[in-house]
């Protein structure tokens, strides 16, 4: 699985200590740097199959702001982990911005000079992604998509037909259907665990 750290910040370049320390600490990750939020968001959308951790600055001198980018990403996927960064500490953020961040799943916050915290968060998020069912399901769906010639009409729930792409969308957006799939997978795991013998 490809793993990438995306840094979206208009005040950083590839020589920035923050970027260099991340690259040195996690050589297995490709570190991509974007100076405007739109390009960063587009890159994320083009690479949803990769395991991505995003460091997203709150404030940009031009274009969309960090909170707007966060909302755009969350409309499409809840499975990308996002670390919001700012020169200010959390208490200096506006109430509206705080509310936006708190109300999204998988959001972290650091000041943009705190490389130690960034390093610790990458480790923590990576461990989370390793054991999270929704991430595993997303990966499995991607494999099915590549292996299955019958991508259209893969599953029917009542009168609703889903292709694998559509199932992936449900999982990424944590819709009612996507959450049902997660629940059903957990129930099957429990069922198999508790069954004393599985005979064919």
């Amino acid at each position: 699985m490809n793993r990438e750290v995306i840094v979206i910040d208009d005040n950083m370049d590839s020589k920035d200590p923050f970027v260099r320390v991340l690259q040195k600490t996690y050589p297995e990750y490709a570190i991509k740097l974007f100076n405007d939020a739109n390009s960063g968001v587009q890159y994320i959308f083009d690479n949803l199959t990769k395991r991505i951790i995003v460091f997203l600055d709150c404030r940009f001198d031009a274009g969309i702001q960090g909170i707007e980018a966060l909302n755009i990403i969350r409309q499409k996927t809840s499975l990308v982990y996002i670390v919001m960064m700012s020169a200010n500490n959390l208490l200096q953020q506006s109430e509206a911005h705080l509310s936006e961040m708190i109300n999204h799943h998988g959001i972290y916050y650091i000041t943009n000079t705190d490389t130690d915290k960034a390093i610790a968060l990458i480790k923590e998020i990576n461990e989370l992604m390793d054991c999270k069912l929704d991430c595993a399901l997303e990966e499995w769906m991607e494999i099915q998509k590549n292996q299955n010639s019958n991508n259209e009409n893969y599953l029917n729930i009542g009168s609703q037909s889903f292709s694998i792409d559509e199932l992936l969308k449900e999982i990424r957006t944590k819709s009612e259907v996507g959450r049902k799939f997660e629940k059903d997978l957990i129930q099957l795991t429990i069922y198999l665990l508790l069954k004393k013998t599985v005979s064919i």
Binding site: N150, N156, F181, L188
Partner: protein
């Protein structure tokens, strides 16, 4: 003793899921084997035709239906109800209704039994299927097979659950995801039996 099966399924040209419903209908015909059966399908799947075919029978029968449904009705591709809690709930007095449809186990089933049906089979949530995966047909039709063989409703229910277990054991290594949906169907299968006997 069951003598006849009315096999109703939605294979109307405009129905997207007609292949699955038709597969269910074909399996019902196979299960009927030595019994007589009547087909109601395609554009005929309407309340007036159902009433007419039911009225023409004076033997023990099972009314089998594979189509879309909701908590209170079975309906055709025109969204016209052919069995419902408010239009023909009295129709199946003394007989068994067996459905492969969404949600009919929520309210339709208990209403039909309250109005005289001997037994109702269905699902209390959306029925899930993957076209071309035979385990979905096998599991959804097993109880009908057992009823026709002469088993009681209770035994047929248990054997249907056993069939689900068997298919889950067979398929989970190949496709964990689709197997989880089989389990979901298993957990939503219900039957309501009249206490009048």
């Amino acid at each position: 003793m069951i003598k006849h099966i009315i096999i109703a399924y939605n294979n109307a040209v405009k129905e997207n899921d007609r292949r699955f419903f038709e597969d269910c209908g074909d399996e019902a015909k196979r299960i009927a084997n030595q019994l007589k059966y009547t087909i109601i399908s395609g554009e005929e799947l309407r309340a007036d035709i159902v009433s007419e075919r039911v009225a023409s029978l004076d033997v023990d029968y099972v009314f089998f239906a594979a189509s879309h449904g909701d908590s209170r009705s079975l309906y055709n591709s025109e969204f016209s109800e052919y069995v419902s809690t408010t239009t023909n709930e009295y129709l199946f007095n003394g007989h068994i209704i067996y459905t492969v449809a969404c949600l009919c186990g929520v309210e339709l089933g208990s209403t039909l039994v309250r109005n005289g049906a001997k037994c109702f089979w269905g699902y209390r949530d959306k029925y899930i299927f993957s076209i071309g995966e035979p385990s979905y047909i096998e599991t959804s039709m097993e109880a009908l097979n057992q009823i026709v063989l002469g088993n009681s409703m209770e035994v047929s229910f248990q054997l249907a659950l056993d069939k689900y277990d068997h298919c889950i054991a067979q398929s989970y290594e190949d496709n964990y995801f689709l197997t989880s949906q089989l389990l979901s169907n298993k957990n939503n299968l219900v039957y309501y039996e009249s206490q009048m006997e």
